[in-house]
Protein backbone atom coordinates (compact mmCIF):
# COMPACT_ATOMS: atom_id res chain seq x y z
CA UNK A 1 0.00 0.00 0.00
CA UNK A 2 1.33 3.39 -0.89
CA UNK A 3 1.70 6.31 1.50
CA UNK A 4 -1.23 8.14 -0.03
CA UNK A 5 -3.52 5.17 0.37
CA UNK A 6 -2.71 4.90 4.05
CA UNK A 7 -3.33 8.58 4.55
CA UNK A 8 -6.66 8.53 2.80
CA UNK A 9 -7.78 5.48 4.74
CA UNK A 10 -6.85 7.23 8.01
CA UNK A 11 -8.82 10.24 6.90
CA UNK A 12 -11.75 8.04 6.08
CA UNK A 13 -11.77 6.49 9.54
CA UNK A 14 -11.56 9.91 11.16
CA UNK A 15 -14.45 11.10 9.05
CA UNK A 16 -16.42 8.02 9.95
CA UNK A 17 -15.78 8.57 13.65
CA UNK A 18 -16.82 12.18 13.33
CA UNK A 19 -20.00 11.20 11.59
CA UNK A 20 -20.79 8.70 14.31
CA UNK A 21 -20.17 11.35 16.93
CA UNK A 22 -22.37 13.84 15.10
CA UNK A 23 -25.12 11.25 14.91
CA UNK A 24 -24.80 10.54 18.62
CA UNK A 25 -24.99 14.27 19.38
CA UNK A 26 -28.02 14.61 17.14
CA UNK A 27 -29.79 11.76 18.91
CA UNK A 28 -28.88 13.18 22.32
CA UNK A 29 -30.11 16.67 21.39
CA UNK A 30 -33.27 15.15 19.96
CA UNK A 31 -33.97 13.35 23.20
CA UNK A 32 -33.31 16.51 25.20
CA UNK A 33 -35.63 18.48 22.95
CA UNK A 34 -38.36 15.86 23.34
CA UNK A 35 -37.97 16.01 27.10
CA UNK A 36 -38.23 19.80 27.09
CA UNK A 37 -41.32 19.64 24.87
CA UNK A 38 -43.02 17.07 27.09
CA UNK A 39 -41.89 18.52 30.43
CA UNK A 40 -44.87 20.89 31.00
CA UNK A 41 -47.21 17.90 31.05
CA UNK A 42 -45.36 16.50 34.05
CA UNK A 43 -44.00 19.56 35.86
CA UNK A 44 -45.77 22.82 36.61
CA UNK A 45 -45.06 25.03 33.54
CA UNK A 46 -44.51 28.26 35.50
CA UNK A 47 -41.78 26.56 37.48
CA UNK A 48 -40.18 25.33 34.27
CA UNK A 49 -40.35 28.82 32.82
CA UNK A 50 -38.65 30.19 35.90
CA UNK A 51 -35.82 27.75 35.33
CA UNK A 52 -35.60 28.66 31.65
CA UNK A 53 -35.47 32.39 32.40
CA UNK A 54 -32.72 31.97 34.96
CA UNK A 55 -30.90 29.53 32.68
CA UNK A 56 -30.89 32.17 29.95
CA UNK A 57 -29.74 34.78 32.46
CA UNK A 58 -26.89 32.53 33.60
CA UNK A 59 -25.95 31.59 30.04
CA UNK A 60 -25.80 35.29 29.14
CA UNK A 61 -23.64 35.98 32.17
CA UNK A 62 -21.42 33.03 31.31
CA UNK A 63 -20.72 34.43 27.85
CA UNK A 64 -18.93 37.27 29.60
CA UNK A 65 -17.52 35.51 32.65
CA UNK A 66 -16.82 32.03 31.39
CA UNK A 67 -15.75 32.76 27.84
CA UNK A 68 -14.28 36.27 28.03
CA UNK A 69 -13.01 36.15 31.61
CA UNK A 70 -14.78 39.32 32.75
CA UNK A 71 -16.56 39.00 36.10
CA UNK A 72 -19.47 41.42 36.07
CA UNK A 73 -20.96 41.91 39.51
CA UNK A 74 -23.75 44.02 38.08
CA UNK A 75 -25.77 41.77 35.84
CA UNK A 76 -28.86 42.20 38.01
CA UNK A 77 -29.14 45.68 36.49
CA UNK A 78 -29.84 44.21 33.04
CA UNK A 79 -32.27 41.61 34.31
CA UNK A 80 -34.19 44.31 36.16
CA UNK A 81 -34.04 46.85 33.33
CA UNK A 82 -35.47 44.32 30.91
CA UNK A 83 -38.14 43.35 33.41
CA UNK A 84 -39.22 46.86 34.38
CA UNK A 85 -39.25 48.17 30.80
CA UNK A 86 -41.36 45.31 29.53
CA UNK A 87 -43.58 45.34 32.58
CA UNK A 88 -44.18 49.07 32.40
CA UNK A 89 -44.87 49.12 28.66
CA UNK A 90 -47.24 46.16 28.68
CA UNK A 91 -49.12 47.50 31.71
CA UNK A 92 -49.56 51.01 30.32
CA UNK A 93 -49.92 50.62 26.57
CA UNK A 94 -52.55 48.06 25.77
CA UNK A 95 -51.90 48.38 22.02
CA UNK A 96 -48.53 46.70 22.38
CA UNK A 97 -48.27 43.01 21.71
CA UNK A 98 -46.20 40.96 24.11
CA UNK A 99 -43.23 40.43 21.83
CA UNK A 100 -42.95 44.20 21.25
CA UNK A 101 -42.74 44.73 24.99
CA UNK A 102 -40.07 42.07 25.28
CA UNK A 103 -38.07 43.51 22.40
CA UNK A 104 -38.26 46.97 23.97
CA UNK A 105 -37.04 45.58 27.30
CA UNK A 106 -34.18 43.81 25.60
CA UNK A 107 -33.22 46.97 23.72
CA UNK A 108 -33.17 49.01 26.93
CA UNK A 109 -30.90 46.46 28.57
CA UNK A 110 -28.67 46.51 25.47
CA UNK A 111 -28.28 50.28 25.61
CA UNK A 112 -27.60 50.13 29.34
CA UNK A 113 -25.08 47.37 28.70
CA UNK A 114 -23.28 49.57 26.18
CA UNK A 115 -23.10 52.33 28.78
CA UNK A 116 -21.76 49.94 31.43
CA UNK A 117 -19.25 48.50 29.00
CA UNK A 118 -17.85 51.84 27.89
CA UNK A 119 -17.34 52.89 31.50
CA UNK A 120 -15.87 49.68 32.79
CA UNK A 121 -14.13 47.84 29.97
CA UNK A 122 -10.65 49.24 30.54
CA UNK A 123 -10.58 47.98 34.10
CA UNK A 124 -9.20 44.53 34.77
CA UNK A 125 -10.21 41.66 37.03
CA UNK A 126 -11.60 42.72 40.37
CA UNK A 127 -11.60 46.40 39.46
CA UNK A 128 -13.94 45.50 36.67
CA UNK A 129 -16.15 43.61 39.12
CA UNK A 130 -16.25 46.58 41.49
CA UNK A 131 -17.08 49.11 38.77
CA UNK A 132 -19.91 47.01 37.39
CA UNK A 133 -21.20 46.53 40.93
CA UNK A 134 -21.22 50.28 41.56
CA UNK A 135 -22.94 50.99 38.26
CA UNK A 136 -25.57 48.39 39.05
CA UNK A 137 -26.13 50.05 42.44
CA UNK A 138 -26.77 53.34 40.64
CA UNK A 139 -29.38 51.59 38.54
CA UNK A 140 -30.84 50.01 41.69
CA UNK A 141 -31.26 53.39 43.40
CA UNK A 142 -32.72 54.82 40.23
CA UNK A 143 -35.40 52.11 40.31
CA UNK A 144 -36.00 52.70 44.03
CA UNK A 145 -36.58 56.42 43.46
CA UNK A 146 -38.51 56.29 40.20
CA UNK A 147 -42.27 56.33 40.33
CA UNK A 148 -42.85 54.07 37.31
CA UNK A 149 -41.33 51.05 39.06
CA UNK A 150 -43.78 51.09 41.92
CA UNK A 151 -40.91 51.46 44.43
CA UNK A 152 -40.73 48.75 47.05
CA UNK A 153 -43.92 47.09 45.82
CA UNK A 154 -42.78 46.59 42.27
CA UNK A 155 -44.99 46.31 39.21
CA UNK A 156 -47.87 43.90 39.69
CA UNK A 157 -50.36 42.45 37.28
CA UNK A 158 -48.33 42.84 34.10
CA UNK A 159 -50.66 41.47 31.38
CA UNK A 160 -49.23 38.55 29.46
CA UNK A 161 -51.25 39.56 26.43
CA UNK A 162 -51.07 37.89 23.07
CA UNK A 163 -48.03 36.91 21.09
CA UNK A 164 -48.07 38.65 17.68
CA UNK A 165 -51.60 39.59 18.66
CA UNK A 166 -52.60 36.00 17.90
CA UNK A 167 -51.54 33.49 20.53
CA UNK A 168 -53.01 33.87 23.96
CA UNK A 169 -50.17 33.77 26.47
CA UNK A 170 -52.44 33.65 29.51
CA UNK A 171 -52.43 29.96 28.75
CA UNK A 172 -49.44 28.47 30.58
CA UNK A 173 -48.67 25.93 27.85
CA UNK A 174 -48.55 28.57 25.11
CA UNK A 175 -46.41 30.73 27.34
CA UNK A 176 -44.09 27.81 28.05
CA UNK A 177 -43.50 26.96 24.41
CA UNK A 178 -42.83 30.61 23.65
CA UNK A 179 -40.27 30.88 26.46
CA UNK A 180 -38.73 27.58 25.40
CA UNK A 181 -38.42 28.75 21.79
CA UNK A 182 -36.73 31.99 22.84
CA UNK A 183 -34.45 30.13 25.20
CA UNK A 184 -33.39 27.60 22.58
CA UNK A 185 -32.79 30.34 20.01
CA UNK A 186 -30.57 32.20 22.48
CA UNK A 187 -28.76 29.02 23.45
CA UNK A 188 -28.00 28.27 19.81
CA UNK A 189 -26.92 31.88 19.32
CA UNK A 190 -24.48 31.62 22.22
CA UNK A 191 -23.22 28.30 20.89
CA UNK A 192 -22.73 29.91 17.49
CA UNK A 193 -20.92 32.92 18.99
CA UNK A 194 -18.61 30.78 21.08
CA UNK A 195 -17.57 28.56 18.18
CA UNK A 196 -17.18 31.43 15.72
CA UNK A 197 -13.83 33.13 15.02
CA UNK A 198 -15.07 35.97 17.21
CA UNK A 199 -15.64 33.52 20.07
CA UNK A 200 -12.13 32.20 19.68
CA UNK A 201 -10.75 35.71 20.02
CA UNK A 202 -12.77 36.08 23.23
CA UNK A 203 -11.24 32.89 24.59
CA UNK A 204 -7.79 34.13 23.58
CA UNK A 205 -8.44 37.35 25.50
CA UNK A 206 -9.46 35.33 28.52
CA UNK A 207 -6.36 33.18 28.41
CA UNK A 208 -3.81 35.84 27.67
CA UNK A 209 -4.90 39.37 27.02
CA UNK A 210 -1.47 40.95 26.36
CA UNK A 211 -0.86 38.26 23.79
CA UNK A 212 -4.15 38.98 22.05
CA UNK A 213 -3.21 42.66 22.00
CA UNK A 214 0.21 41.90 20.54
CA UNK A 215 -1.42 39.81 17.84
CA UNK A 216 -3.16 42.97 16.75
CA UNK A 217 -6.66 42.41 18.08
CA UNK A 218 -8.52 45.48 19.28
CA UNK A 219 -9.26 43.77 22.55
CA UNK A 220 -11.48 46.49 24.00
CA UNK A 221 -13.88 46.33 21.07
CA UNK A 222 -14.21 42.57 21.38
CA UNK A 223 -14.89 42.90 25.07
CA UNK A 224 -17.44 45.68 24.64
CA UNK A 225 -19.34 43.62 22.09
CA UNK A 226 -19.30 40.57 24.38
CA UNK A 227 -20.55 42.72 27.23
CA UNK A 228 -23.35 44.20 25.15
CA UNK A 229 -24.52 40.81 23.87
CA UNK A 230 -24.42 39.45 27.39
CA UNK A 231 -26.41 42.42 28.72
CA UNK A 232 -28.96 42.10 25.92
CA UNK A 233 -29.57 38.42 26.63
CA UNK A 234 -29.77 39.09 30.37
CA UNK A 235 -32.31 41.81 29.62
CA UNK A 236 -34.27 39.42 27.46
CA UNK A 237 -34.32 36.94 30.34
CA UNK A 238 -35.64 39.69 32.62
CA UNK A 239 -38.27 40.77 30.09
CA UNK A 240 -39.59 37.23 29.73
CA UNK A 241 -39.51 36.73 33.46
CA UNK A 242 -41.69 39.79 34.04
CA UNK A 243 -44.22 38.47 31.50
CA UNK A 244 -44.19 34.95 32.93
CA UNK A 245 -44.68 36.06 36.53
CA UNK A 246 -46.59 39.22 35.59
CA UNK A 247 -44.33 40.96 38.05
CA UNK A 248 -41.20 43.12 38.05
CA UNK A 249 -39.68 43.85 41.42
CA UNK A 250 -36.65 45.36 43.11
CA UNK A 251 -35.43 41.87 44.00
CA UNK A 252 -34.19 41.50 40.45
CA UNK A 253 -32.11 44.67 40.71
CA UNK A 254 -30.55 43.91 44.09
CA UNK A 255 -26.86 43.01 44.09
CA UNK A 256 -27.70 39.66 45.63
CA UNK A 257 -29.18 38.73 42.25
CA UNK A 258 -25.83 39.53 40.64
CA UNK A 259 -24.27 37.19 43.18
CA UNK A 260 -26.83 34.48 42.55
CA UNK A 261 -26.16 34.36 38.82
CA UNK A 262 -22.47 33.97 39.57
CA UNK A 263 -23.31 31.05 41.83
CA UNK A 264 -25.44 29.39 39.14
CA UNK A 265 -22.68 29.72 36.56
CA UNK A 266 -19.95 28.60 38.91
CA UNK A 267 -21.79 25.56 40.22
CA UNK A 268 -22.82 24.40 36.77
CA UNK A 269 -19.44 25.05 35.21
CA UNK A 270 -18.26 28.36 33.84
CA UNK A 271 -16.94 28.45 30.33
CA UNK A 272 -19.12 25.51 29.29
CA UNK A 273 -22.33 25.81 27.31
CA UNK A 274 -24.45 23.51 29.39
CA UNK A 275 -22.98 24.52 32.76
CA UNK A 276 -24.99 27.68 33.44
CA UNK A 277 -28.21 25.96 32.36
CA UNK A 278 -27.57 23.10 34.73
CA UNK A 279 -26.47 25.48 37.49
CA UNK A 280 -29.60 27.60 37.14
CA UNK A 281 -31.79 24.48 37.19
CA UNK A 282 -30.03 23.31 40.31
CA UNK A 283 -30.12 26.60 42.21
CA UNK A 284 -33.77 27.33 41.36
CA UNK A 285 -34.65 23.81 42.44
CA UNK A 286 -32.69 24.04 45.66
CA UNK A 287 -34.36 27.35 46.51
CA UNK A 288 -37.79 25.96 45.70
CA UNK A 289 -37.38 22.61 47.46
CA UNK A 290 -35.88 24.16 50.57
CA UNK A 291 -38.50 26.88 50.53
CA UNK A 292 -41.18 24.19 50.88
CA UNK A 293 -39.61 22.16 53.65
CA UNK A 294 -38.48 22.60 57.22
CA UNK A 295 -35.24 24.23 56.04
CA UNK A 296 -37.22 27.18 54.69
CA UNK A 297 -35.22 29.74 56.65
CA UNK A 298 -31.89 28.22 55.78
CA UNK A 299 -31.85 28.91 52.05
CA UNK A 300 -29.29 31.72 52.25
CA UNK A 301 -26.76 29.93 54.46
CA UNK A 302 -27.08 26.80 52.33
CA UNK A 303 -26.48 28.78 49.15
CA UNK A 304 -23.51 30.40 50.89
CA UNK A 305 -22.15 26.99 51.81
CA UNK A 306 -22.56 25.80 48.20
CA UNK A 307 -20.59 28.87 47.13
CA UNK A 308 -17.79 28.08 49.55
CA UNK A 309 -17.64 24.40 48.66
CA UNK A 310 -17.70 25.12 44.93
CA UNK A 311 -14.86 27.61 45.14
CA UNK A 312 -12.79 25.35 47.37
CA UNK A 313 -13.44 21.94 45.88
CA UNK A 314 -14.63 22.10 42.30
CA UNK A 315 -13.94 25.40 40.65
CA UNK A 316 -14.71 24.06 37.17
CA UNK A 317 -18.28 23.32 38.21
CA UNK A 318 -20.27 20.16 37.61
CA UNK A 319 -20.02 20.15 33.81
CA UNK A 320 -16.37 21.16 33.93
CA UNK A 321 -15.47 18.37 36.35
CA UNK A 322 -17.37 15.80 34.30
CA UNK A 323 -15.53 16.93 31.18
CA UNK A 324 -12.22 16.61 33.00
CA UNK A 325 -13.15 13.15 34.21
CA UNK A 326 -14.19 12.01 30.75
CA UNK A 327 -11.02 13.37 29.19
CA UNK A 328 -8.85 11.62 31.75
CA UNK A 329 -10.51 8.24 31.84
CA UNK A 330 -12.21 7.73 28.51
CA UNK A 331 -11.02 10.08 25.79
Amino acid sequence: MSQIDIQSSIQKTILKQQKAEDRRKLVLNGILLMLLLLAPFVIYPVFLMKILCFALFAAAFNLLFGFTGLLSFGHAAFLATGGYTTGYLLSNYSGLTTEMGIIAGTLMATVLGLGFALLSIRRQGIYFAMVTLALAQLVFFFFVQSSFTGGEDGLHGVPRGELFGLINLEDNLNMYYFVLAVFLACYLLIQRIVSSPYGHVLKAIKQNEPRAVSLGYKVDRYKVLAFVISAALAGLAGSMKSVVFQLASLNDAHWHMSGEVILMTLVGGMGTLLGPVLGATLVVNIEYQLGQGPLRDWVDPILGAIFVITVLAFRSGIVGEVQKFVRKNIG
Binding site: I126, A129, F141, G304, F307, V308, V311, L312
Partner: protein
Amino acid sequence: MSMIFGVPMAVLSGQLLIGIINGAFYALLSLGLAIIFGLLKIINFAHGAMYMLGAMATVIMFDALDVNYWVALFLAPVLVGIVGVFVEYFLLRRIAGQDHIYSLLLTFGVALIMQGVLTNIYGVSGLRYAMPDMFKGGVNLGFMFMPYYRAWVIVAALLVCFGTWFMVEKTKLGAYLRAGTEDSQLMQGFGINVPLLVSLTYGFGVMLAAFAGVLAAPIYSVTPVMGSHILIVVFAVVVIGGMGSIGGAIITGILMGVVEGLTKTFYPPASSAVIFLVMVIVLMIRPHGLFGKES
Protein backbone atom coordinates in the same frame (compact mmCIF):
# COMPACT_ATOMS: atom_id res chain seq x y z
CA MET B 1 -31.47 82.23 61.43
CA SER B 2 -28.66 82.43 58.92
CA MET B 3 -29.18 80.65 55.63
CA ILE B 4 -26.76 79.09 53.20
CA PHE B 5 -28.06 78.49 49.67
CA GLY B 6 -31.59 78.55 51.02
CA VAL B 7 -30.87 76.00 53.73
CA PRO B 8 -30.84 76.96 57.43
CA MET B 9 -27.37 76.87 58.96
CA ALA B 10 -28.47 74.48 61.69
CA VAL B 11 -29.84 71.97 59.19
CA LEU B 12 -26.73 72.17 57.09
CA SER B 13 -24.34 71.72 60.00
CA GLY B 14 -26.50 68.91 61.36
CA GLN B 15 -26.29 67.04 58.05
CA LEU B 16 -22.58 67.78 57.85
CA LEU B 17 -22.10 66.23 61.27
CA ILE B 18 -24.04 63.13 60.27
CA GLY B 19 -21.96 63.05 57.13
CA ILE B 20 -18.73 63.16 59.05
CA ILE B 21 -19.91 60.40 61.37
CA ASN B 22 -20.96 58.18 58.47
CA GLY B 23 -17.64 59.10 56.92
CA ALA B 24 -15.84 57.91 60.05
CA PHE B 25 -17.51 54.51 59.63
CA TYR B 26 -16.70 54.43 55.94
CA ALA B 27 -13.10 55.27 56.75
CA LEU B 28 -12.76 52.51 59.35
CA LEU B 29 -14.37 49.93 57.11
CA SER B 30 -12.60 50.88 53.91
CA LEU B 31 -9.31 50.99 55.77
CA GLY B 32 -9.75 47.34 56.71
CA LEU B 33 -10.72 46.45 53.15
CA ALA B 34 -7.77 48.38 51.75
CA ILE B 35 -5.33 46.60 54.06
CA ILE B 36 -6.72 43.18 53.22
CA PHE B 37 -6.73 43.96 49.53
CA GLY B 38 -3.52 45.95 49.36
CA LEU B 39 -1.42 43.48 51.33
CA LEU B 40 -3.13 40.15 50.71
CA LYS B 41 -4.89 40.76 47.39
CA ILE B 42 -8.07 39.35 48.86
CA ILE B 43 -11.40 40.98 48.01
CA ASN B 44 -13.13 40.63 51.31
CA PHE B 45 -16.84 40.42 50.63
CA ALA B 46 -17.28 39.21 54.20
CA HIS B 47 -16.24 42.64 55.50
CA GLY B 48 -19.81 43.82 55.99
CA ALA B 49 -20.62 40.60 57.80
CA MET B 50 -17.64 41.12 60.11
CA TYR B 51 -18.85 44.65 60.88
CA MET B 52 -22.24 43.16 61.66
CA LEU B 53 -20.66 40.47 63.86
CA GLY B 54 -18.91 43.18 65.87
CA ALA B 55 -22.16 45.02 66.51
CA MET B 56 -24.13 41.83 67.20
CA ALA B 57 -21.44 40.57 69.57
CA THR B 58 -21.64 43.82 71.50
CA VAL B 59 -25.39 43.54 71.96
CA ILE B 60 -25.41 39.81 72.66
CA MET B 61 -22.60 40.02 75.21
CA PHE B 62 -24.39 42.89 76.95
CA ASP B 63 -27.71 41.05 77.09
CA ALA B 64 -26.29 37.70 78.14
CA LEU B 65 -23.29 38.54 80.29
CA ASP B 66 -23.74 42.22 81.06
CA VAL B 67 -20.48 43.04 79.32
CA ASN B 68 -20.22 46.83 79.29
CA TYR B 69 -19.41 49.08 76.35
CA TRP B 70 -15.71 49.56 77.07
CA VAL B 71 -15.02 45.89 77.48
CA ALA B 72 -16.97 45.16 74.30
CA LEU B 73 -14.98 47.79 72.44
CA PHE B 74 -11.95 45.62 73.08
CA LEU B 75 -13.44 42.14 73.27
CA ALA B 76 -15.74 42.14 70.24
CA PRO B 77 -12.99 43.04 67.75
CA VAL B 78 -10.71 40.40 69.26
CA LEU B 79 -13.41 37.73 68.95
CA VAL B 80 -14.20 38.73 65.39
CA GLY B 81 -10.49 38.87 64.65
CA ILE B 82 -10.23 35.26 65.77
CA VAL B 83 -13.13 34.35 63.49
CA GLY B 84 -11.22 36.11 60.72
CA VAL B 85 -8.04 34.15 61.38
CA PHE B 86 -10.07 30.93 61.18
CA VAL B 87 -11.64 31.99 57.90
CA GLU B 88 -8.20 32.80 56.50
CA TYR B 89 -6.57 29.64 57.79
CA PHE B 90 -9.25 27.13 56.82
CA LEU B 91 -10.73 28.70 53.69
CA LEU B 92 -8.86 31.55 52.06
CA ARG B 93 -5.47 29.89 52.35
CA ARG B 94 -6.66 27.04 50.16
CA ILE B 95 -7.24 29.33 47.21
CA ALA B 96 -4.09 31.42 47.59
CA GLY B 97 -2.45 31.82 44.21
CA GLN B 98 -5.73 31.44 42.33
CA ASP B 99 -7.39 34.34 40.55
CA HIS B 100 -8.39 37.09 43.02
CA ILE B 101 -11.94 36.69 41.86
CA TYR B 102 -12.20 33.42 43.78
CA SER B 103 -11.46 35.21 47.04
CA LEU B 104 -14.38 37.51 46.27
CA LEU B 105 -16.70 34.57 45.62
CA LEU B 106 -15.51 32.62 48.64
CA THR B 107 -15.94 35.51 51.08
CA PHE B 108 -19.32 36.29 49.53
CA GLY B 109 -20.36 32.75 50.44
CA VAL B 110 -19.00 33.18 53.96
CA ALA B 111 -20.97 36.42 54.32
CA LEU B 112 -24.17 34.71 53.16
CA ILE B 113 -23.68 31.97 55.74
CA MET B 114 -23.02 34.36 58.63
CA GLN B 115 -25.88 36.66 57.73
CA GLY B 116 -28.30 33.82 57.14
CA VAL B 117 -27.52 31.96 60.35
CA LEU B 118 -27.81 35.07 62.52
CA THR B 119 -31.01 36.11 60.76
CA ASN B 120 -32.53 32.77 61.69
CA ILE B 121 -31.61 33.22 65.30
CA TYR B 122 -32.28 36.93 65.83
CA GLY B 123 -34.60 37.95 62.97
CA VAL B 124 -34.13 41.07 60.88
CA SER B 125 -36.07 43.56 62.96
CA GLY B 126 -33.05 44.78 64.86
CA LEU B 127 -31.71 44.53 68.37
CA ARG B 128 -31.56 47.41 70.81
CA TYR B 129 -28.41 48.56 72.50
CA ALA B 130 -28.71 51.20 75.20
CA MET B 131 -26.42 54.21 74.96
CA PRO B 132 -23.76 53.97 77.69
CA ASP B 133 -24.64 56.39 80.53
CA MET B 134 -21.54 58.52 80.26
CA PHE B 135 -22.37 59.39 76.63
CA LYS B 136 -25.89 60.61 77.31
CA GLY B 137 -26.53 64.23 76.45
CA GLY B 138 -24.35 66.58 74.49
CA VAL B 139 -22.97 70.03 74.21
CA ASN B 140 -24.34 73.11 72.46
CA LEU B 141 -21.70 74.48 70.15
CA GLY B 142 -23.68 77.65 69.47
CA PHE B 143 -24.52 76.87 65.86
CA MET B 144 -25.48 73.25 66.51
CA PHE B 145 -26.01 70.59 69.14
CA MET B 146 -23.27 67.99 69.40
CA PRO B 147 -24.18 64.72 71.15
CA TYR B 148 -21.22 63.40 73.15
CA TYR B 149 -21.39 59.97 71.63
CA ARG B 150 -21.09 61.27 68.08
CA ALA B 151 -18.05 63.30 69.06
CA TRP B 152 -16.55 60.16 70.57
CA VAL B 153 -17.19 58.14 67.39
CA ILE B 154 -15.32 60.70 65.31
CA VAL B 155 -12.38 60.86 67.71
CA ALA B 156 -12.13 57.10 68.17
CA ALA B 157 -12.36 56.37 64.46
CA LEU B 158 -9.76 58.97 63.56
CA LEU B 159 -7.37 57.71 66.24
CA VAL B 160 -7.66 54.11 65.11
CA CYS B 161 -7.31 55.06 61.46
CA PHE B 162 -4.23 57.13 62.09
CA GLY B 163 -2.69 54.46 64.32
CA THR B 164 -3.25 51.81 61.68
CA TRP B 165 -1.85 53.94 58.91
CA PHE B 166 1.20 54.67 61.08
CA MET B 167 1.70 51.00 61.87
CA VAL B 168 1.53 49.81 58.29
CA GLU B 169 3.47 52.61 56.67
CA LYS B 170 5.99 53.68 59.30
CA THR B 171 6.90 50.81 61.63
CA LYS B 172 9.11 47.78 61.23
CA LEU B 173 6.15 45.40 61.55
CA GLY B 174 4.45 47.24 58.72
CA ALA B 175 7.60 46.98 56.65
CA TYR B 176 7.70 43.20 57.21
CA LEU B 177 4.10 43.01 56.15
CA ARG B 178 4.60 44.95 52.98
CA ALA B 179 7.76 43.03 52.17
CA GLY B 180 6.09 39.70 52.94
CA THR B 181 3.37 40.36 50.43
CA GLU B 182 5.81 41.69 47.86
CA ASP B 183 8.06 38.63 47.90
CA SER B 184 6.96 36.03 50.39
CA GLN B 185 9.68 33.50 49.52
CA LEU B 186 12.46 35.96 50.17
CA MET B 187 10.92 37.01 53.48
CA GLN B 188 10.54 33.38 54.50
CA GLY B 189 14.19 32.96 53.68
CA PHE B 190 14.91 35.71 56.17
CA GLY B 191 13.08 33.70 58.82
CA ILE B 192 9.79 35.59 58.86
CA ASN B 193 6.72 33.40 59.25
CA VAL B 194 4.78 34.75 56.28
CA PRO B 195 1.69 32.50 56.49
CA LEU B 196 1.21 33.59 60.11
CA LEU B 197 1.64 37.18 59.05
CA VAL B 198 -1.04 36.72 56.40
CA SER B 199 -3.50 35.22 58.90
CA LEU B 200 -2.86 38.02 61.35
CA THR B 201 -3.24 40.69 58.68
CA TYR B 202 -6.60 39.32 57.65
CA GLY B 203 -7.58 39.06 61.31
CA PHE B 204 -6.50 42.63 61.91
CA GLY B 205 -8.44 43.91 58.89
CA VAL B 206 -11.67 42.34 60.08
CA MET B 207 -10.95 43.57 63.62
CA LEU B 208 -11.20 47.10 62.26
CA ALA B 209 -14.58 46.21 60.78
CA ALA B 210 -15.72 44.77 64.11
CA PHE B 211 -14.48 47.88 65.92
CA ALA B 212 -16.66 49.97 63.60
CA GLY B 213 -19.48 47.57 64.46
CA VAL B 214 -19.12 48.23 68.19
CA LEU B 215 -19.07 51.97 67.59
CA ALA B 216 -22.22 51.61 65.49
CA ALA B 217 -24.17 49.54 68.03
CA PRO B 218 -25.56 52.43 70.15
CA ILE B 219 -26.57 54.66 67.21
CA TYR B 220 -27.54 52.40 64.33
CA SER B 221 -30.07 49.62 64.29
CA VAL B 222 -28.24 46.36 64.94
CA THR B 223 -29.45 43.62 62.58
CA PRO B 224 -27.87 40.62 60.88
CA VAL B 225 -28.19 42.39 57.51
CA MET B 226 -26.71 45.74 58.58
CA GLY B 227 -23.44 44.94 56.82
CA SER B 228 -24.98 44.04 53.50
CA HIS B 229 -25.72 47.54 52.26
CA ILE B 230 -22.81 49.41 53.80
CA LEU B 231 -20.41 46.88 52.29
CA ILE B 232 -21.22 47.96 48.76
CA VAL B 233 -20.84 51.63 49.67
CA VAL B 234 -17.50 50.92 51.29
CA PHE B 235 -16.31 49.06 48.21
CA ALA B 236 -17.14 52.15 46.19
CA VAL B 237 -15.17 54.25 48.68
CA VAL B 238 -12.16 51.98 48.33
CA VAL B 239 -12.34 52.15 44.55
CA ILE B 240 -12.59 55.96 44.64
CA GLY B 241 -9.64 56.19 47.01
CA GLY B 242 -7.61 53.79 44.89
CA MET B 243 -7.72 50.11 45.80
CA GLY B 244 -5.01 49.21 48.23
CA SER B 245 -4.17 52.79 49.17
CA ILE B 246 -4.45 52.94 52.95
CA GLY B 247 -4.24 56.69 53.39
CA GLY B 248 -6.54 57.13 50.42
CA ALA B 249 -9.18 54.90 52.00
CA ILE B 250 -9.25 56.98 55.19
CA ILE B 251 -9.45 60.37 53.51
CA THR B 252 -11.95 59.22 50.89
CA GLY B 253 -14.11 57.59 53.56
CA ILE B 254 -14.61 60.81 55.46
CA LEU B 255 -14.92 62.82 52.27
CA MET B 256 -17.66 60.57 50.93
CA GLY B 257 -19.56 60.77 54.22
CA VAL B 258 -19.55 64.55 53.89
CA VAL B 259 -20.55 64.43 50.22
CA GLU B 260 -23.44 62.18 51.15
CA GLY B 261 -24.50 64.54 53.96
CA LEU B 262 -24.42 67.55 51.66
CA THR B 263 -26.45 65.73 49.02
CA LYS B 264 -29.01 64.84 51.65
CA THR B 265 -29.35 68.55 52.44
CA PHE B 266 -29.59 69.89 48.92
CA TYR B 267 -31.05 67.05 46.87
CA PRO B 268 -32.27 64.21 49.11
CA PRO B 269 -33.37 61.70 46.41
CA ALA B 270 -29.80 61.32 45.18
CA SER B 271 -28.21 60.82 48.59
CA SER B 272 -27.95 57.06 48.52
CA ALA B 273 -26.64 56.99 44.96
CA VAL B 274 -24.22 59.91 45.05
CA ILE B 275 -21.19 57.87 46.14
CA PHE B 276 -21.61 55.52 43.20
CA LEU B 277 -21.96 58.51 40.91
CA VAL B 278 -18.74 60.00 42.30
CA MET B 279 -17.09 56.66 41.71
CA VAL B 280 -18.08 56.56 38.07
CA ILE B 281 -16.81 60.10 37.52
CA VAL B 282 -13.53 59.47 39.34
CA LEU B 283 -12.92 56.32 37.35
CA MET B 284 -13.42 58.16 34.10
CA ILE B 285 -10.93 60.87 35.05
CA ARG B 286 -8.50 58.92 37.22
CA PRO B 287 -8.88 55.18 36.51
CA HIS B 288 -6.71 54.22 39.48
CA GLY B 289 -8.68 56.20 42.00
CA LEU B 290 -7.81 59.45 43.73
CA PHE B 291 -4.82 58.11 45.63
CA GLY B 292 -4.07 54.89 43.77
CA LYS B 293 -0.87 54.17 41.93
CA GLU B 294 -0.74 53.04 38.33
CA SER B 295 -0.51 49.27 38.45
